[in-house]
C-alpha cells in the first residue's frame, strides 16, 4: 500500500459510475474547488460562536455498501398511508415504492433524473448559491453525491398522500450525502417527509442538501425528521424558492446527532408568496445545533414566518443566526422571525442572533429571541396534581414543541412528529 495515499482514512474522490459523464466532470470540478476552499473560521460572520473543531472530517470515510438492507427497509416505516417511499442506505437506493403516485409525478433517484429529466435537473439542481457559510461543504456534497431524490409534481397536480424518503447511514465513520430536490409546477401540491436515520450508534458524517422550487400557486408541506446517531456530525443545507402566490411550510425536527449545522434559505421570489420556516430542537447531553437562516424578500406582498424552538438541557448548545432581508421594491412585506429557547440547565448555552436588513419602508417585520426556564408556578401546578417534577418538566418541554407543531396542516403528520418528539423526551 502506498503510504502517501491513505485509503482507510479520510474521504476520497471516487466518482460514482451511476452519473452521466457531464455530471461526473462537474463533480471533479467541485472536488477541486472543495480542496481549494479554506475551511471556515470563527472570524467569518456566518460562523460566529460556532465550534469549528467539531467540523473535523479526518475520521470519516466513503461509506461502504450497506450490510443490513432488509433490516433497514423494514425499519423504514412511518406514516400508514403514503403515495411513495424511497429508501437509501449509505447513498444507494435500496427500496422504491411509487405505485401510489398520480400520473405524471416523478419520484426518482437523482442519477436517473440526470438522464431521464436532464433539463429539469440542470435547471434546478443546486441552482441556489450557498450563502450562509457552508459553501465548502456544499462543494463536498456535490463532489461525492451518489444518492438523492428528485420529486417533480407537474402543474395542477396534487399528490394527496405524503411522499416519504428515508436516508440511512450504517457503519463506523461512514459518510452520506442525502439530497432532496423538489420541483413543483404551477398550482402543484405535495407533502414530503425526509427521515435521516442511523442504522447503528456509530459515529457518522452526513452532508445533505435540499433544493425546493415552487411554481406559481404551488403548495409544499415539508418535514425533515433528523434522527442521526448521537455521535453524528451533520450538515443540512436548505434552499426554498417561492414563485408567485406559492406557499411552503417546512419543519426541521433535529432529534438526533451530536453536532448539527443547519442552513436554511427562503427566497420569496414571486409576489404574494409565503414561506413558513419551523424547527424544533430538543437538546441534551453535549449536543450542539448551529442554525443560520435567511428570509430573502425579493418580491412585494410576500410573507415569511420563521419560528425555531430549542430546549437546552445538560451541556447542550444552540446557535441561531437569522436575517430577514427585504430588497428594494418588496413593498408590503410581512416577515417574522422568532427563536425561543427553553433553558433547562445552567450549563447549557444559547446564542441567538436575529437580524433585519430592510431596504424599503413599506414593510411589517418583527424579529426576536427569548430565553427562559420552566416557570416555578407551572411546575408547582403539575406537582400539585401528583406529577413528579422530572416528568412535569418533560411534559412542559414536549408541550413547548407540540404547540409549534400545530402549524402543520396535516393532522396525521403532526401526530407522527409529536409521537417522535414524545419518544425523544421519554414522555409516555
Amino acid at each position: 500500500m502506498n503510504p502517501e495515499t491513505p485509503t482507510t482514512d479520510g474521504l476520497q474522490f471516487t466518482p460514482s459510475p451511476v452519473w452521466p459523464d457531464w455530471f461526473r466532470s462537474a463533480q471533479q470540478d467541485a472536488w477541486n474547488e472543495y480542496l481549494a476552499t479554506p475551511a471556515p473560521t470563527r472570524k467569518d460572520e456566518t460562523w460566529r460562536y460556532a465550534n469549528i473543531k467539531a467540523l473535523d472530517l479526518s475520521a470519516f470515510r466513503n461509506a461502504p455498501p450497506i450490510a443490513s438492507e432488509g433490516k433497514l427497509i423494514n425499519a423504514s416505516t412511518g406514516l400508514e398511508a403514503i403515495a411513495a417511499k424511497l429508501v437509501f442506505g449509505n447513498n444507494a437506493l435500496v427500496h422504491s415504492q411509487t405505485d401510489g403516485l398520480p400520473a405524471g409525478v416523478v419520484v426518482q433517484p437523482l442519477d436517473v433524473a440526470a438522464r431521464e429529466n436532464e433539463a429539469l435537473f440542470r435547471q434546478y439542481f443546486l441552482s441556489q448559491p450557498v450563502e450562509l457559510g457552508s459553501h465548502k461543504y456544499a462543494l463536498l456534497h456535490k463532489a461525492l453525491l451518489s444518492g438523492g431524490v428528485l420529486v417533480h409534481v407537474p402543474a395542477n397536480v396534487e399528490v394527496a398522500l405524503p411522499i416519504e424518503l428515508y436516508h440511512w447511514v450504517e457503519g463506523a465513520n461512514s459518510s452520506v450525502f442525502p439530497h432532496t430536490l423538489i420541483v413543483l409546477g404551477d398550482n402543484a401540491k405535495v407533502t414530503v417527509v425526509d427521515h435521516f436515520k442511523s442504522a447503528d450508534g456509530a459515529p457518522a458524517f452526513a452532508c445533505g442538501i435540499n433544493d425546493f422550487h415552487l411554481g406559481r400557486g404551488a403548495k409544499l408541506d415539508y418535514v425533515a425528521i433528523q434522527d442521526w446517531s448521537a455521535d453524528t456530525l451533520a450538515f443540512h443545507i436548505n434552499s426554498t424558492v417561492c414563485d408567485r402566490d406559492s406557499s411552503s411550510t417546512a419543519l426541521v425536527a433535529n432529534l438526533g446527532g451530536r453536532h448539527i449545522r443547519g442552513e436554511s434559505f427562503s427566497k420569496l421570489a414571486g409576489e404574494g408568496s409565503r414561506s413558513v420556516m419551523l424547527s424544533i430542537n430538543p437538546l441534551d447531553g453535549e449536543r450542539h445545533v448551529d442554525q443560520r437562516t435567511l428570509q430573502d424578500h425579493a418580491a412585494p406582498n410576500a410573507t415569511s414566518d420563521l419560528l425555531y424552538r430549542n430546549s437546552l438541557d445538560d451541556k447542550s448548545q444552540a446557535i441561531f443566526s437569522g436575517l430577514i432581508r427585504v430588497e428594494p421594491g418588496s413593498k408590503q412585506t410581512d416577515a417574522y422571525q422568532k427563536v425561543e429557547n427553553l433553558v433547562l440547565s445552567e450549563d447549557a448555552v444559547a446564542h441567538s442572533m436575529p437580524g433585519l436588513q430592510i431596504l424599503n419602508d413599506d414593510v411589517r417585520c418583527t424579529h426576536g429571541a427569548t430565553s427562559g426556564g420552566i416557570s416555578q408556578d407551572e411546575l408547582f401546578y403539575m406537582q400539585a396534581r401528583g406529577i413528579r417534577p422530572d416528568l412535569g418538566r418533560r411534559l412542559v418541554v414536549a408541550g413547548f414543541f407540540h404547540s409549534l407543531l400545530e402549524r402543520l396542516d396535516n393532522e396525521t403528520l403532526r401526530a407522527r412528529v409529536a409521537a417522535l418528539v414524545n419518544a425523544r423526551l421519554g414522555v409516555e
Partner: protein, 265 residues
Amino acid sequence: MRGLHQEFLIYLLMSLVIKNLTANIGDQQILKGVNLEVPKGEVHAIMGKNGSGKSTLAKIMAGHPDYTVTGGEVLMDGENLFDMEEPDERARAGLFLAFQYPMEIPGVTIANFIRAAVQARLPEGEELEATDYYANLYAKMDALKIPRAFTSRSVNEGFSGGEKKRCEILQMAMLEPKYAVLDETDSGLDIDALKIVSDGVNALRSPDRGFLVITHYQRLLNYIVPDKVHVMVDGRIAMTGDKDLALELEAKGYDWVTEGELATA
C-alpha cells in the same frame, strides 16, 4: 382513659388537622398560628378578607416553594404533610388543591395531563388502561358539562374563567383525593358556572373525603353547604361557627369579627 385515647387516634386518622401553623414569605410572617380540624365527610369553609392568609394556607399545605413553614404541622389522617418535601408526594398521598388561578401549560392536552397525574398514582410498572381512562374521563366531563373536544385542548390555555374552574373540578373528580382544598373556586364565575362547579363538588362529597373551601363571598356556600365556617383574620382562625356564620359575615362584613376578637382579648 383508654377509650379516650382510641377515640383520639380514630379522630386523628380520619381528619385533616392543622396545628399551630406559622409560615413566612421571605421575612414576612403570613400565618401566625393556624389551628383547624376537618374530619372526613365534612365540608369546612374558610372565609376572610383579602390578605388574611387563607390562600397562603392552601399553598403552604400543597407545598408551594415560595413559603417557609416556621412552626406547627399539618396531619393528613395522622401523616405529617411536612414530612413529604415535594408537592407531588403530598398530592399522591391524597391532598388536592383547586387553584384560584390555574396555570396554562401550552402544548400539553387536558387528556394527557390528567392521564399523567392518574398514572403517577399507580404502582411502578402498572400501566393505565387507555379505554377505561377515557370512559371515566368522558363521563366526568359530561357531568361537569365540559365539551369532550376539550380533551385535546392545551391545559387552561385560552380557557374562560369558568372553564378553568370546571377543569379544576374535573381533575379533582379524576384524582379522587382524601382531602380537597378549594382556593377561591368561585372567583370569576357567573351564576351558571357556579352552579355547575358546586354540583361537581357536591357529587364528590363522601364520608371518605374532607373539603376545605376557601372563599371571600358567602354566595358559594349557598351551593356548597358547609358543616363549619371559620373566619381567618391576620393569619389566624379568629372565629368558628356553623353555616349561619357565613350569612352573618355577608350581612355585617368582617370588621366585627376583629372587634369581637379584640373585645374578648
